[in-house]
């Protein structure tokens, strides 16, 4: 009965009534302590006329001697039937793509204390790729990891497709010091990467 009442109060609080809302907030806090959520706002805050159709993300790692390994580069947009979600795609979507395009509203990402949680999980993703070297002759981890992202957006009134923005995030692989990737808009996404570009330039915020 207690659980039933907690759920009822948590649900009724959504009606917007201030008094019920305070009771509901208490109920929600109690449920949260049990890692229970009464509901979830799915597909909320949809966009206007412009619909994002594809998020294209790729990961490239660079060894100390400059060799570039493509670690993640799925076809984008897909051209085949998808009977199941690839877990790596899902992980990439929920950490990299959401961070770069939704949670931070598509702006060039400067991960600061305000977005500490985003910075942390993004750094954890990059750190995983830093240490994912599986070559038989590998004696060290990668020197840096680059995460590229762009999105295809369609205006459903005009049918116009837009491919932007192109964001490039760089992450330096260091043993004992972990910093959030620094991301910037790519002005010329097709240009060849600069081999000697500093992987972890100044100005990066700590996660």
């Amino acid at each position: 009965m207690v659980a039933w009442m907690l759920l009822l109060m948590a649900g009724i609080s959504l009606s917007g009534d201030p008094l019920l809302g305070s009771f509901g907030a208490t109920a929600r806090d109690t449920l949260a302590r049990l890692t229970v959520r009464p509901g979830m706002a799915l597909f909320k805050n949809s966009v206007g006329e412009d619909k994002v159709e594809a998020h294209c993300t790729s990961v490239t790692a660079v060894t100390a001697d400059g060799r570039r390994d493509s670690l993640y580069a799925p076809e984008c947009p897909r051209s085949h039937f998808l009977w199941r979600t690839d877990p790596q795609d899902q992980l990439m979507q929920r950490i990299a793509q959401n961070t770069l395009t939704r949670d931070l509203r598509g702006e060039p990402v400067v991960l600061t204390a305000e977005s500490a949680f985003h910075a942390r999980r993004f750094a954890a993703l990059a750190d995983y790729y830093c240490h994912s070297r599986s070559d038989a002759d590998a004696h060290s981890d990668y020197a840096k990891v680059e995460i590229r992202h762009h999105r295809l957006t369609r205006n459903i009134q005009t049918g116009e497709m837009v491919d932007r923005p192109h964001v490039l995030c760089r992450f330096a692989c260091r043993a004992n010091e972990v910093r959030a990737p620094r991301c910037e808009l790519e002005t010329d996404p097709g240009a060849a990467p600069e081999a000697d570009r500093e992987a972890n330039p100044e100005g990066m915020e700590r996660p």
Binding site: L14, V52, H55, L82, A124, R154
Partner: protein
Amino acid sequence: MDRFFAPRSIHALVACRIIFGLALFFSYLNRVGDVSMLFGPDGIGGASALARSPGLSITRALEAPIDLLTRIDSIEVIWLLYGTLLVSSLCFAVGLRTRTMGVIALVLHALFHARNGYAFYGWPIMFKPFMVYVLLAPVHRFGSLDAWLARARQPLVPIADWVGPAYPVRLMQVHLCCMYAEAGWSRLTDPGWLRGEMVYLALQDDRYRRLAVDWTPLLPLLRVPGWIAFVAEPLAPLLLWLPGIGPAWAVLLLLLHMGLEVGANIGMWQYTMMGALLVFLPPSWLEWVFELPSRLFRRTPAAV
């Protein structure tokens, strides 16, 4: 209130046991090639990463108290737990050592989800309490291997008599309504939903869609299910309880979830919701489904 909590049919929860057990099994089986990356000590946010820097934790605040797998630095132990989860969820579905296996599957699922919530869409969050409600009911007694193996000592209960305490059913019902309230009411002023474009969006978005086709020419038609979803979900917390309308509304929502499952891939969301929606269907409908195997094999429909 006594009538509300009086013993009642639990056919829906028996069906939930099968659906949820299989959903859990196949969901984790889908991740068999990525266990190390998603949950292992060398995986994202794992024990090795935390040894390099505690700042690399990806555990969300809600699940932090139960994030125990991050502390395990042995991939063999992770694999052992993962295998146990697969076996226990399958045993739960078929009703073998039902309650024990159900509790094991639920606990392990909660631990894996806490370890890396980004390895899933949002369905595990709702799945956990729904699973608890199923475990609270005597689902081991009906339509299970447990009941079949014990038939010499205890005769099988006729399908029409699958009755149990009402509170697990009531908890499932009210929680499902909370889910629809939060999902549905939060969209009422959303421009995309008002224009009926959200089903189109789910089908067209490269992250979710199953078919790699351009649905844009069908957008005018897809607005119809879009508006149906826009109306059906916010009204569900009220209409599902009405005797005459409730079952029809539940069928409408079931069809909606089925359609979304065919067109879009959002983890086990649709199965979680469809299983839970069964608690709003008349027991006689579910009795008919459970009796179907007996009819097909030309046996007496007294028991399964």
